[in-house]
Every structure is written in C-alpha cells, then in structure tokens.
C-alpha cells in the first residue's frame, strides 16, 4: 500500500525524485561504507542501502532541513537495521548490566596470563585474533550496540551527533557505547576460550 502511494506520487511528479536524488545520492559512498561494516556482507549492505533510499524517498516530504540529509539517511538506515535484526534472533545472550559493567578484558588477560613468555602480554593477546573473528564478534553484538559503535568508528561522530542519528538521549548513547565495548571484550574472551588460548576451568572465567 505504502509502495503504491509512492509510485503514484512519482508517476505524477518526477521533480521531487530528481531533487531527492541530487540531495541524497552524494552520500551513497558513506552510507554503503556504514552498511558494509554493519552487515559484514557486500550483498546485504547493498540491499540495505537501496532500502534506505527507497524509504527516504518516501519520507522525503517530511525532511525539513535539506542541509541535514546525511544524518537523516544514517538515521533511516540505523532504524532499518534495528527493525530487521530485532526478529533475526542471532544475538549473543548477555549477562546483567552490572556484571557487564564490571567485565574487564584487561584484568582477565593479566590474571590468566595466557602467553607466559610474552613481555607485551595484552598486545600479543589481541594479535592472536584473525580479522574474521573480530568482525564476527562485532556482528554478534545486539543491533543497538553495534549500530552505535560502528557509527562512532566509521563516522567519528560526537555523542550529540550520534544521539540525533539514533534518536535517543546522549546518556543512552554513552551507555550503549560503554556496554557495547564491554560485550565486545567479553566476546573476544569467549572466542579466546573456544580457541584454547586460555584455560576454561578457572573460576570466574
């Protein structure tokens, strides 16, 4: 129904679509870069970007400030990811926020000392991970945390800019970026255990 209304509008008035393309397509590269890092897959990223543009064209009349088209597009893409992955059910089970906030990969590496002959223990621990495993750990993050972290890493936005894109208070951004990194640290530790890099019998590990 929604698609039908949009098609009808386009058939009768080509002008707004041209204007939309002129305004929004220059951000294609940035949007694709963001989508690629979020999905870890070229075809999925391309679909996501195309869906973002279709939804944006539909919502174009509601864009009040054409100068803010880029954050608006990022916002639409972020919402699409959140909506899609909410039902996908591929997230890792999470401990309570209190347990998560206390989690420290640094401390665990120090305590377990998985590389006893290393004089750069923490650096050498990280060097054990192939790129794919780091990406897999990031992809396993619940979408709200993943979107926030990838936006920060890719676009280097301030917390205020992130809050505008994610449509949430700055405090929520701060908490998602903190907790998202903690979940990632925990995922890397779990990954190290699976690979036999650290012992698994020790209490608290």
């Amino acid at each position: 129904m929604e698609h039908g209304v949009r098609s009808q509008a386009l058939e009768t008035d080509v002008g707004p679509r041209r204007r939309f393309e002129e305004l929004a397509l220059p951000d294609l590269r940035a949007l694709y870069r963001f989508a690629r890092k979020l999905t870890g897959d070229g075809a999925a990223a391309e679909d996501l970007v195309q869906d973002t543009y279709l939804r944006a064209l539909n919502a174009f009349p509601s864009l009040r400030d054409p100068g803010r088209v880029k954050p608006w597009l990022f916002q639409i893409l972020s919402h699409l990811v959140t909506d899609r992955h909410r039902s996908a059910g591929r997230e890792v089970p999470l401990p309570s926020p209190e347990v998560l906030d206390r989690f420290s990969l640094y401390d665990l590496i120090s305590e377990e000392d998985p590389l006893p002959y290393s004089d750069r223990l923490h650096d050498d621990f990280l060097a054990q991970f192939p790129d794919e495993e780091v990406r897999a750990a990031l992809l396993a993050l619940p979408e709200a945390y993943r979107v926030s972290l990838v936006l920060l890493y890719t676009e280097e936005m301030s917390y205020r800019e992130l809050a505008a894109v994610l449509d949430c208070p700055v405090g929520t951004v701060m908490s998602r970026l903190h907790r998202g990194r903690k979940i990632l640290e925990r995922e890397l530790w779990e990954c190290a255990k699976r690979r036999g890099l650290v012992r698994t019998w020790k209490a608290g590990s």
Partner: protein, 88 residues
C-alpha cells in the same frame, strides 16, 4: 591500629577512584568528557599507573577493532541500480 585503619581508608578511597575512573574511559577516548569530570580523570591518571595501562589497552582495543572493520570499495553500478529502484 589507628594508622592501619587510615591506610585502609586511603586504599578504599583509591579503589573507588579507580572504579570511577575506569567507568569514564570510553567517554574520555571519545572526547565526550569535559570540565570537572575531565580534570578529575586526568588528575587520577597522573597518579595511577594501573589506570594508565588500562586506558592504553582500551585505546588499543578500539583501534584494533576499528582497523579490522575493513574498507570496501563501492560496488560497480550501485548508483544506477538505486536510481532504477527509485524510479520504480
């Protein structure tokens, strides 16, 4: 005894300071800390080598993950495909 208690209190307050400091590391790395909280954290870091090491690790971990997200070239023909999709 009294002196021991004072040492214990000092250690306790130091521990709390470290806990609070660690909670603010990511905001610090993201340049989101300003004013008094920033000054308090920097003063703590000047005096606490443990926290400096932990902060350094957090900074490295950020860069480590960021580097591994990779860069991908824009797929050939994507703009035309999107233009066609927009045209319905």
């Amino acid at each position: 005894m009294r002196q021991e208690a004072r040492v214990g209190e000092d250690m306790e307050s130091r521990k709390l300071s470290c806990e609070l400091a660690v909670q603010q590391f990511f905001a610090y790395l993201d340049r989101a800390l300003k004013g008094e909280p920033l000054e308090a954290l920097e003063a703590h870091l000047e005096a606490c080598l443990d926290c400096c090491d932990k902060l350094q690790f957090s900074r490295k971990l950020d860069a480590f993950v960021k580097d591994r997200l990779g860069e991908a070239a824009l797929p050939e023909g994507i703009e035309n495909r999107i233009r066609r999709a927009l045209a319905g």
